[in-house]
Symmetry: D2
C-alpha cells in the first residue's frame, strides 16, 4: 500500500500527528521570501521525463508547471539557473553514485536523454550547471553565480523531489538562501518519496508554495 492508496483523511491524520510533534519542537516556521529571488530548475532532462529511463510519477506535471514558472521568471527578469546531470563520454567521472545506479553514466553530453526538455530550453544569460551528484550546489559554481547576481532567495522546481531537488533545497538553505519549493512544479517517479520529502522540506528547510502563489509574489515585487 502506497501513500497514494491511503484515503485523503488518513494522509491528513498522519501528517497532522507528525506536524504536531514537529511544531511543539519549534519546526515548521516560515523562512519566507527575501528581496531578490532566482529560479532554479533541477534536472528536467528528457531521461527524467521518460518512465522507461529515469522518469514516471508526476514529473510531467512538474514540467508543465515549471514552464509557467519559467515564463513568468523570464518576464520578471529574475536570474534563472538550470541543472543537468552529465557524465563524461568516457565515464571518467563516474563515482559511487554510478555504483548505486550504473545506468546514470548514459547521461553523456550529447545523448538525447541528457538534454533539457524542449519546453524549458535555456536562453542566453541563463546558467546551465552540469553536475554528477544530486545537489545543484555541491562542487558546482551555482552558489558563486547566485552571489554574483545578489540573490537572497531560491525558488526550486524540477525533479526528482526526493533526489536532486531535495539535495539542492537542503544545500540552498545551508548556504543561507531563503528557499521556496514550488510544490506542484517538483515531481518524482513515485508518490511516497515525493510526499515524504515535501513534509520534511516544509518542516525544516524551505517554504512550500504553489506555482500560482509564487507567480503572485513575483508579480507584486
Amino acid at each position: 500500500m502506497t501513500d497514494s492508496q491511503m484515503t485523503d483523511s488518513q494522509i491528513t491524520d498522519s501528517r497532522m500527528a507528525d506536524s504536531e510533534l514537529y511544531g511543539k519542537q519549534g519546526f515548521g516556521q516560515s523562512s519566507g521570501f527575501g528581496d531578490r529571488p532566482a529560479l532554479l530548475i533541477v534536472d528536467l532532462q528528457v531521461g527524467f521525463t521518460d518512465p522507461e529511463i529515469f522518469g514516471g510519477g508526476n514529473i510531467l506535471d512538474a514540467v508543465a508547471n515549471t514552464q509557467v514558472l519559467l515564463s513568468v521568471a523570464r518576464h520578471c527578469k529574475i536570474p534563472i539557473a538550470h541543472t543537468k546531470v552529465v557524465y563524461a563520454d568516457d565515464g571518467s567521472d563516474a563515482g559511487v553514485f554510478c555504483l548505486k545506479n550504473p545506468a546514470l553514466v548514459q547521461l553523456t553530453e550529447d545523448a538525447p536523454m541528457s538534454q533539457i526538455v524542449a519546453e524549458l530550453t535555456p536562453q542566453a544569460g541563463e546558467l546551465v550547471v552540469r553536475k554528477t551528484q544530486p545537489s545543484a550546489f555541491l562542487h558546482t559554481q551555482l552558489a558563486a553565480w547566485l552571489i554574483n547576481k545578489a540573490v537572497d532567495t531560491v525558488i526550486v522546481a524540477g525533479c526528482t523531489t526526493s533526489g536532486c531537488v531535495r539535495a539542492s533545497v537542503v544545500d540552498s538553505m545551508s548556504h543561507n538562501f531563503r528557499t521556496i519549493v514550488a510544490e506542484d512544479a517538483v515531481g518524482d517517479r513515485a508518490t511516497a518519496p515525493h510526499e515524504a520529502t515535501l513534509f520534511d522540506l516544509s518542516q525544516k528547510y524551505a517554504d512550500l508554495l504553489s506555482t500560482e502563489q509564487i507567480i503572485t509574489h513575483l508579480r507584486q515585487q
Copy 2:
C-alpha cells in the same frame, strides 16, 4: 495514520511496488565496502535524545546501537568522527535554518543540550565536527580529515535519519566515499520520515546494514 500503524504486510507491499520501479530503472544496486572504513556519528547530542527538545521516536535505540558500533570501531582502530550542531553564544551564525526552527540557536557550546550523550563521549584522536547546517560535510573539514586518514568508506550512525543523517549520507556519497548506513543505529523523532529516508538512501545513495552485519564485516577486515 502513520507508517507504523500500517500492518507489516502493507508496508512490505508498498516498498515492493516502488522497489520494482526503481529496480527496473537501475537503482538499488550495492556500492559495498571499500578497504578503509571510518565511523561517522551524527548529532547524538542530549537535545536530540529528549522528546521535549528535539528528540523522540527511535533515537534512544540509535544511541544504544551506536554505542555498540563505537566500541567495536575503537577496538578495530578505524577513524571515528562525531558531529554536533553548535551555534555561537551571541547567535551571530544563525541563518535560514534558524528561521525554520528558532529553537536551534539554543544549541550553544556550553548548553547541556548541546553535549554529546555521555555513552558516546569522544576520545582523544577522534574528530569532533561543529556544524550549523544539516550536512556533516558541507562547510566543514570532515572530507579533508577523511582524506588525511585515507578513508574510502563511511559508516553512518546518529540522528535524525531524515535530517542530518540523510544530508550527511548524500554528501558522503557525493564525495565518492562508499557509504554504509547502520539502519538500527540511526533514529528519528517520527517513524514515517525515518522509513521513507531509509528507502531513498538504499535505492540511491548508500547500503543499509544492521549494526551486527557491520560489526561482522569490521571484525573480518
Copy 3:
C-alpha cells in the same frame, strides 16, 4: 638581497615592466566596490604578531591600521568577520599543513598565542571563524554567513599577506565577492612575499586601497 633592499626606483622599474605585460593581456582592471561591504579580518592572533612565534615584518603595522578600519566598520554597522587558526587540543585535526610546519598545532583553543589580539577583540554579532587551513572560506561557513548578510563586497585586512590573506582573497573573489585589500592593514613576516602578493592580487583578484581610501568610501556610503 630582499625587495626592501632594492632602491625605490628599482622596485618601480620592476613593477612597471611586469605591469605592462599584464596590462597588455588585460589584467589589472578594477573590480570596484559593490553596495554592501563587509570587513574580514584574517588571523590577527597573538602568535602571528610575535616574531618569536609566527610573526614579524609589518604585521604590527597591519594590526594598528586594522584597528582603525574595525572602528569605522563598527560605526558604519557593516558585517564584520574575524578568522583564527585553531587546532583541536588533541591534535586530531592536524593535517598536511602541520607537516609543513609542525609548530602550528600549538594554536589550540585556549593557548595565549591563539587569541585574537586585544585591540581587535570581537564584539557580539561579529562572526568568529575557526579554521585549520589558509583560506577563510574553504570548509568554513563564511560564504554562507556573507550570503545571509547580503554582502557583495569583502574588505580584507590581517595576516599574513602571502599566506592566509592571499588564500582568503582568492577564495573571496572566486565566490564572486568584489574584494578590496586594505594594503596597509595586511602584513607579513617578510617583505618580499608581502610585496609579491600585493602585485599578484592587484593584477588578478582584488583592488588595493589604503585604509584611508576605504574609510572615505565607507563614510560616503
Copy 4:
C-alpha cells in the same frame, strides 16, 4: 629590475635570509610523498602558451617538462587530471574574475585558445575539469574524483605558477593531499611572480621537486 636581473648570488642571499626566519618559525619542512600519487595538469591551454594572449615567460618550458611527466604518469598508470578555464558561450558564468580581466571570457568551449595544447591532449579515462576560477578544486568535482581513486598525493604541473597553479596547490594541501610541485613543469608569464610563488609554496604548502626527481620516485614505486 626584475628578479631575473638580479645576480644568482643576490637571489640566493635574499632567499637565505627569508628562509632562516621561516625555518626558525618551523616552516619549510617536507610533507613528502604518500603511497598513491596522481598527476594534476593545470590550464596548459593554447591561450596560456601564447604571449599575445595570456602566455609568455617560461610557460613553454613547463609544457615540455609536463609532456615528459605525463608520459611517465601514463606508463605508471597513476590517475591523471587536466584542468581548463572555460566560460559559457553567452558569458552567463562570468563573474568578478572577469572584471579583473575581461579578456578571460574569450575562453569559450570551442575557441582555439581554450584547447589543451596538442602535446598534452587528454586520453580516455583522464579527468578534464572545466573551471571558471583559479583553483582546480574550488567548486569542482576534482577532490571527489581523487577520493574515488584513493589518491593521497597530488603532483602539480601547469600554469601559471602564481595564479591557477598556486591556488590549486593551496587547495590540494588544504584537502590534505600531500602536494608535490614539479618546479620545472610549472610556468608563469613573468619571472618574479613565478619565483616568489615557488618560495611560498615550498615554505608552507608543498614540496618542490624537479621533473627528473618525480620520475625517479614514480619509477621506484
